[in-house]
């Protein structure tokens, strides 16, 4: 609780041009707003001098220091002489310390007009695009080095990354894919039942999962699970200056950090997509057989009839492309991370958002190409 103001800090006019600030008792956790407002009111243009009287001052804390600090600033602004001689010596020293500025802040914070801002942003965009292209180029040359067996990529890093994005991700992929198959079947069944064509739920789920949904779901899961982890791991290495250490040792960050993760995901994601396709079909079968009373044999007959190899391969191609997108977005965000904890958070978010956006863009492009090619 704040103490009452009475008899702790009092402002008195002693002469026509002189004020006295009497401080007494314990000034602890004091609300200084009120006495300072009184002081401001009393400090009229005819006042030439202010004296501090602190004979009966006992304990004090920062609230008193702040009051004296503000008073001194106010007196400086109004060209009023301030006498602090009667304050305890340590309090005077502390105020002296607060006013002893040894440097002035400068950030170079220039103000830009709107046109200049647009120009600045455009140049930044150009720089960012160049950075991304440079990164992709470095990755391609890293792959080239790897194909010539001239890379420093460590097998152990590759297998660790493969284990992390492969076997360890199967559980969550299975669960989500089964539920997606189940949801697809439910949504389709409602419409198909109105035509008495609920048996085609099997075809709907099979085509949907194999062609695109399996790959998309695995992509979303892996961007949230693995891509973000790549960004966070590499970002933390940036904060700990491990990336600088790699560079000063002359080791390629791409070979050492990006390639193992890229290759691991390129192998793991198509396999996870196959598992996802199958589990999605199982989810559809669960709805068809147990909830819509479609005979088990009949459901799978229709499912296999709807299964087309080209749909399946398009799905796998999607997942292969998604693997590249997720690993590159994760690693790039990590490598570009700012050197602080906040930067790691931003890098992680950026990796997931970028990966999902680019996955959707690439899906659109592949869909148009497949349409044109009649696949």
């Amino acid at each position: 609780m704040q103490k009452k103001m009475q008899n702790v800090i009092d402002v008195e006019k002693v002469e026509s041009n002189r004020l006295k600030i009497i401080i007494s008792g314990d000034v602890l956790r004091q609300n200084i707003d009120t006495p300072f407002a009184v002081l401001q009111e009393s400090l009229t243009s005819d006042i030439k001098k202010v004296d501090f009287i602190a004979e009966n001052l006992e304990a004090w804390d920062s609230s008193l220091v702040l009051f004296i600090y503000d008073t001194r600033r106010l007196c400086q602004e109004k060209n009023v002489a301030l006498n602090m001689q009667h304050l305890p010596q340590n309090l005077q020293d502390l105020i002296g310390l607060a006013f002893a500025v040894d440097r002035n802040p400068s950030r170079g914070s220039e103000k830009f007009s709107t046109i200049e801002e647009i120009g600045k942003k455009t140049l930044e965009l150009k720089q960012k695009t160049a950075d991304v292209l440079n990164f992709i180029g470095n990755v391609l040359s890293g792959i080239g080095r790897c194909l010539r067996f001239n890379s420093i990529m460590r097998k152990i890093d590759f297998f660790a990354a493969l284990e992390d994005c492969g076997p360890k991700a199967i559980g969550i992929v299975c669960l989500i894919s089964f539920l997606i198959g189940l949801i697809l079947a439910f949504v389709g069944a409602v419409q198909l039942q109105t035509f008495g064509a609920q048996i085609y739920v099997a075809s709907l789920v099979t085509i949907g999962m194999c062609r695109i949904m399996g790959a998309i779901m695995v992509g979303v899961i892996m961007s949230g699970r693995t891509g973000s982890s790549y960004a966070a791991t590499i970002g933390t290495m940036q904060v700990n200056e491990e990336l600088d250490a790699l560079q000063t040792m002359g080791l390629s960050r791409i070979d050492f950090l990006v390639l193992p993760r890229l290759f691991a995901l390129m192998i793991a994601m198509p396999i996870l997509t196959m598992i996802s396709d199958f589990l999605g079909m199982m989810g559809g079968a669960f709805v068809g057989v147990f909830l819509m009373d479609i005979p088990y044999q009949e459901y799978w007959n229709y499912a296999f009839k709807a299964f087309r190899l080209n749909n399946f391969l398009v799905g796998l191609f999607h997942s292969f492309c998604f693997a590249i997108i997720i690993s590159l977005c994760g690693c790039y965000s990590g490598l570009k991370c700012e050197k602080n904890a906040d930067g790691v958070g931003k890098a992680t978010t950026k990796s997931v958002v970028c990966a999902i956006v680019w996955m959707i863009v690439v899906t659109g492009i592949i869909t148009v190409i497949c349409q044109e090619l009649g696949i």
Partner: protein
């Protein structure tokens, strides 16, 4: 002359699980002291600091801070002690998502009844005290390592602490910044009368600021010496302390 005791460690054993760093240590820190915990690497200096600040529990013994045994105190009592303690970590440990002023305002908003405008002014005052006047709206990433330490100190001073702990304050600083920080510690100790506990192995700082100390030894897992570091240098009680205080016997 009997002095008030700020910290009293009795029969203190520090370690992690079965791994003991320091056995049966006894020492006292008087109010207003600048107390140095020194010793070679791995002797348990930082672990001792973690025990004093309540971040880890000692394996055995008691730590009495301003009359409260923190090893037996309730969470509320420990919290009260923490409110009256400030810590400056090696890196400054400023929250990177907040400006310097917001870093300092955080404990004040949490534990004081001041109005927001007063809290803002107090943050400005604390920054001014450590020579960072006008840097309130800067983010930690925008300032140098030495300035981060100063800002960390401003945050440590936010609640007018009775005791301020410093973990390797000179680490990573150039000699001038290190000297400036030492001067600042001395000035704040003199002006505010704050008890200061410093964990360091920086000899220049030890002799410049310390008026009381303990020397921890990793081999014997005990306190090998205690007292004013300058007195210890004049009359080293044993070979280890002499070697440490003279950089291995350098004249």
């Amino acid at each position: 002359m009997i002095k008030d005791i700020a910290i009293e460690a009795k029969n203190l054993t520090v370690g992690y699980g079965d791994y003991v760093l320091l056995k049966n240590a006894d020492y006292q820190v008087n109010k207003g002291d600048i107390f140095i915990i020194m010793g070679g690497s791995g002797c348990g200096k930082s672990s001792m600091l973690r025990v004093l600040t309540g971040l880890i529990e000692p394996l055995k013994g008691t730590v009495i801070i301003n009359g409260t045994d923190i090893t037996k105190a309730s969470e509320e009592e420990v919290q009260k002690i923490r409110e009256k303690s400030g810590i400056l970590y090696q890196s400054g440990a400023l929250f990177s998502s907040m400006t310097l002023a917001e870093n300092i305002m955080l404990p004040l908003q949490q534990y004081s009844d001041y109005s927001l405008s007063t809290i803002r002014e107090l943050a400005e005052l604390k920054l001014a005290l450590v020579g960072l006047k006008g840097f309130g709206d800067f983010y930690p990433s925008e300032i140098s390592g030495g300035m981060k330490k100063r800002a960390g100190l401003a945050r440590a001073l936010a609640m007018d602490p009775d005791i301020v702990y410093f973990d390797e304050p000179s680490a990573g600083l150039d000699p001038i910044s290190s000297r400036n920080l030492d001067d600042l510690i001395l000035e704040l100790n003199h002006s505010l009368g704050t008890t200061i506990v410093v964990v360091t192995h920086e000899l220049s700082s030890i002799f410049a600021i310390g008026n009381n100390s303990i020397f921890l030894d990793a081999q014997s897992k005990s306190i090998l010496a205690r007292g004013n570091p300058n007195d210890l240098l004049k009359n080293p009680p044993n070979e280890e302390v002499y070697k440490f205080l003279t950089r291995g016997g350098e004249k």
